[in-house]
């Protein structure tokens, strides 16, 4: 019985991903797209979790964990990039801030 429940939830998750793709394609502003991509990543994580329990293999959970982390890092990287228009400036600002904070201590 649980197999059927997991299968239905798997397909529901795929449906939610497909709906999110619509916003990803349409999204008038860039931020809509970033938001949709982030939310899409969360749904992919859930999809992988459900799938790995459905087929009874624990490997998928590791991938899902990796995804959850990478999704977050990629979102932050994209936004940093837009904030400073360059990754290098973003990194330099970060190290500058750390240097200032370090002086205070």
């Amino acid at each position: 019985m649980m197999g059927w429940v997991n299968l239905i939830s798997l397909l529901a998750m795929a449906l939610a991903m497909a709906i999110m793709l619509g916003r990803l394609f349409a999204g008038p502003t860039l931020y809509d797209r970033v938001l949709a991509a982030n939310s899409f990543g969360t749904k992919t994580v859930l999809l992988l979790l459900i799938f790995s329990l459905l087929v009874g293999r624990a490997d998928g959970v590791d991938i899902a964990l990796l995804y959850a982390l990478i999704n977050f890092v990629a979102t932050i990287a994209i936004l940093k990039f837009f904030r400073y228009r360059s990754l290098e400036v973003a990194l330099a600002q970060m190290s500058l801030r750390r240097a200032i904070d370090g002086d205070d201590e």
């Binding site: 795929a14 991903m17 394609f25 899409f40 400036v89």
Partner: protein
Amino acid sequence: MTEFDWTQLLDYSLMAMLLAVGIAIVRLRNLFAIVMLMGVYSLISAAWFVSLDAVDVAFTEAAVGAGISTVLMLAAMLLTAREAEPVKAGRHWAALIVVSVTGAALFYAVGDMPIYGDPNSAANAYVGMDYITSTPNEIAVPNVVTAVLASYRGFDTFGETVVIFAAGLGVMLLLGLNAAKKEAGK
């Protein structure tokens, strides 16, 4: 005839999403949106790899495709325009011919491939089984792929690592990251 495997539906829906994302990447002009869609593309394809039992490939795809290459693409976009210029329709024909010929060759090659999961196929019949049976006794590492890469083929992997390291060093020297850092630190 075995029972219908319902997880096939997942494969089909993931493939449909891949197709939709691919078409959208071709159609869109906004490069930022395309970068993001490419990240999503590799997310979907990694999920598909998991469903095809290729967990190691999915791991690599997730780390490289969704993580690093998105960042690299963004860095590359600094050097280019933000919008793609429309390509003249005449150029499409040459590309279409190349793509169709490659696709036809691949489809032709599919005929020679063993059936999915065939126990008698070349990949499963010869040394593969040996590795799988002897790795737990000879090397304590549980992951067979790791054991093959780091121990049975250790010198090979060492050479590959050296090559990649040298290539990375060369790229860093060419780009002059040191100079950029000095400039930013001013």
